[in-house]
C-alpha cells in the first residue's frame, strides 16, 4: 500500500507524472486490453475503449481515493468504457447489446484478428449468447481467473450473486457445447 501511495504521489506531481503515467500504461495496457477485447469482441473497438480508458485514468487520477488498488480502479474504468462503447454501437444499429455481441461473434470466422478453430468459435458463440453480466463474469472468472472478491469490487455485485452468475453461465455454455 505504501508503494501504491508513493506511485500515486508520482502520478499527481507535475515533475514526475509523465514518467509515472508511462509506467502505468506499460504495466497495464495488455491486461486491460484483453479484458476489454472480450467484452467488445472487435479489435478496433477494443483499441478505442483502451485508449479512452487510459485518458480517463489520467484525467481522474486526482480523484482516486486509494481505497482499492489502482489496478482495480482502472479495471472498473475499463469495464465502464467498454460497456459504454458497446451501448453506443448497439444503439446506432437499434439493437440490444447482446444482439450486437452475437452479431460480432458471427463474424469471427472472417476476422483477421481471430485465430481459432471451429471449437473455439463454438465456445465464443456460446459465451456471446449469455446475458451481458453473466458474460462479463464468465470471462473474468474463467479466462482471467479473477477472485470473486476482486470481481465484486469492480462490478459492484455481491460475491454470492457473482458465484451464482458464473454457475449459470457455465451450465449454459456446457449445454450449448454438448448440443
Amino acid at each position: 500500500m505504501e508503494s501504491q501511495n508513493q506511485f500515486l504521489k508520482a502520478l499527481t506531481s507535475k515533475e514526475t507524472q509523465e514518467v509515472a503515467f508511462k509506467k502505468l500504461v506499460v504495466d497495464y495496457k495488455e491486461r486491460l486490453y484483453w479484458h476489454i477485447r472480450k467484452i467488445l469482441i472487435d479489435h478496433d473497438d477494443a483499441d478505442d475503449a483502451l485508449q479512452n480508458t487510459f485518458v480517463k485514468v489520467y484525467e481522474n487520477i486526482g480523484k482516486f481515493k486509494g481505497n482499492s488498488s489502482i489496478y482495480t480502479w482502472m479495471y472498473k474504468i475499463a469495464t465502464n468504457e467498454a460497456l459504454n462503447l458497446l451501448g453506443k454501437k448497439s444503439k446506432q444499429l437499434g439493437i440490444s447489446n447482446e444482439e450486437w455481441v452475437e452479431k460480432k461473434t458471427d463474424l469471427l470466422e472472417s476476422d483477421v484478428y481471430f485465430d481459432g478453430d471451429a471449437m473455439l468459435i463454438k465456445l465464443q458463440k456460446a459465451i456471446a449468447s449469455l446475458p451481458e453480466k453473466q458474460r462479463i463474469v464468465f470471462n473474468m472468472r474463467y479466462y482471467e481467473e479473477m477472485k470473486y472478491e476482486k470481481m465484486s469490487e469492480i462490478l459492484g455485485t455481491s460475491v454470492g450473486a457473482l458465484k451464482a452468475s458464473y454457475h449459470h453461465a457455465m451450465t449454459k455454455i456446457k449445454n450449448i457445447i454438448n448440443e
Binding site: Y33, R37, D47, Y113, M119, Q124, I173
Partner: protein, 156 residues
C-alpha cells in the same frame, strides 16, 4: 458370433462422462491461451505511443528567450499604464481644485447657495463664515447689510 456378447469390451475411467464437459472446456482453454483473439503486429507498442500522445501534460517548460522578452514587455506596459493612470489622477485633482477656487472666486455666497440645496434659513450661517468669500462681504457692506458675526473687516 453369438458367443461374443455385443457388449463393448472397452471401459472408461470411473466418472469419465460426468466431468467430460469441464475437461473439454479446460482443454479448449489450454490450447488457446488468448481464446483465439489476436492483435495486429506491434499493436501494444503503437497503442502506448497513441495513449501518451493523447494525454496533455501540464507545462513545466524552461524559460526561453522569447517567453522572457514577452514577460519583460508585459511588465513595461503595466508600469506605463500604472504611471499614466497616476498622472491623470493628479491632473484630475488639480482640475477639481482649480474649478472649486474659480467657483468660489466668481460666485457670491447667495449664488453658491442658490446652486446648492443648502438653506440659509435652516442653517447656522453665522457659524460657517469661513466659507463666505471676500466678495460676499463687500457686497453685504455695499447693500448696508451687516451680518453680525461676519467680522472679516472689523480690523479696518
Amino acid at each position: 458370433m453369438s458367443k461374443f456378447p455385443n457388449k463393448s469390451p472397452f471401459k472408461v475411467p470411473k466418472g469419465y462422462f460426468e466431468d467430460f464437459d469441464s475437461r473439454l472446456i479446460q482443454k479448449i482453454k489450454n490450447t488457446s491461451e488468448k481464446n483465439g483473439f489476436i492483435v495486429p503486429n506491434g499493436y501494444f507498442q503503437r497503442v502506448e505511443k497513441d495513449i501518451l500522445n493523447k494525454v496533455k501534460y501540464p507545462n513545466h517548460h524552461t524559460a526561453t528567450l522569447g517567453s522572457a522578452l514577452w514577460k519583460i514587455a508585459s511588465i513595461i506596459v503595466l508600469m506605463f499604464l500604472f504611471y499614466y493612470n497616476e498622472q491623470s489622477m493628479v491632473n484630475q485633482n488639480e482640475f477639481a481644485e482649480f474649478y472649486i477656487e474659480d467657483y468660489l472666486t466668481f460666485n457670491t455666497t447667495y449664488e453658491i447657495a442658490d446652486h446648492s440645496d443648502y438653506s440659509f434659513e435652516n442653517s447656522n450661517f453665522s457659524n460657517s463664515y469661513e466659507s463666505v468669500s471676500i466678495d460676499d462681504t463687500i457686497e453685504l457692506r455695499l447693500y448696508g447689510e451687516s451680518p453680525t458675526n461676519l467680522n472679516l473687516f472689523d480690523d479696518e
